[in-house]
Amino acid sequence: MLDDASIAETDHAADSIAVSVWRGDASGGTWETFTVPRQPSQTVLDIVTWIQQEADPTLTYRFACRVGMCGSCAMMVNDEPRWTCRTHVGRVVKDGAISIAPLRNLPVIKDLATDMDPFFDKWVKAEATHHPSAGRHDDFAAVLPDDEQRVEASAGIECINCAVCYAACDTVAGNPDYLGPAALQRAWTLYNDSRDDAGGAILDAVSAQGGCHSCHSMGSCTHYCPNDLDPMGAIAGLKRATAKRFFRRGRG
């Protein structure tokens, strides 16, 4: 990892970058190389935008906020999943070149845009949706920030659904049924949220086939999470919770 001073130096190290971009759709494709001018403080998303605006308007990609909030611009950069809007070129350029491809483990729609449906379908399958414990006529729930369960829940709430962890996970690659780190982390967050009323349903969902017990604790999710979250730790929490319930019940 380069420090900020090194990035500043490399920012002007070359006038241009050779950018290999994966072009194609679900049926196949190939790499196309573009020569992109180097600019100060340039991000990988800037590169992709430059290619679309200046070189080839048919290039397809997805982005929205450009500030690391929306989670829509993740791509494989030099074969590693990254949020491209917050990835400085200086951190990833190698010998004046960069490769950019669609996210791993998801079907490609076209070029750099992947179909996120399987990713979000699994959030629903993991019961990673809010199950309200109160209605609009009830008073506000009192949530103490220092409460042990709340601390667990708060640890994962900054997830921006970018699917970087999903793309990084070898278990997802090898097991299409596996719910993936993001969905499981959200399930863990809701399980620990005192306002969620379906702890049992969450544990049922995450202990089914392809659930938390499929995780091999490789840690790629935690390693690559751009928001420094710890999905592997959240999944470990689900493993403990489901195992405790199993032993309490004395059955599977």
């Binding site: 994966w22 196949g28 494709g29 669609p102 490609v108 070898d170 490789m218 790629s220 403990r240």
Partner: protein, 122 residues
Amino acid sequence: MRGGDPNAATRRPVRGHALWYAHIIHRVSGIALALFLPLHFWVLSLALTDAARLDNFLAFTELPFVKVAEFGLVFLLALHLFGGMRLMALEWLPWRAPHKTLAAGTLAVSAFVSGVFFLQAI
């Protein structure tokens, strides 16, 4: 240039960090030990079935390169043992940040245990 199937471009493994190495070392050491164990039990069975052959084998194990191989075995065993303890700690203790430290500790303790064995063997 890679091309064709998008998976060829986008599904290349994302690896090369400490915890992934810890994972693969645990797996590979487990497989290696599983392959070794039948041989080990077969040699032990010679004590009952063919004592002379066992004595020959034990003489063979005095050779230096066999000692080195034994060191490798104990190293694998230690890796698998402490790697497994690392995993159990990770999954069963409410434990967060120092994953990498524990992974490195696994390697260090394994090297120490098998090193002590090796020094005693030679």
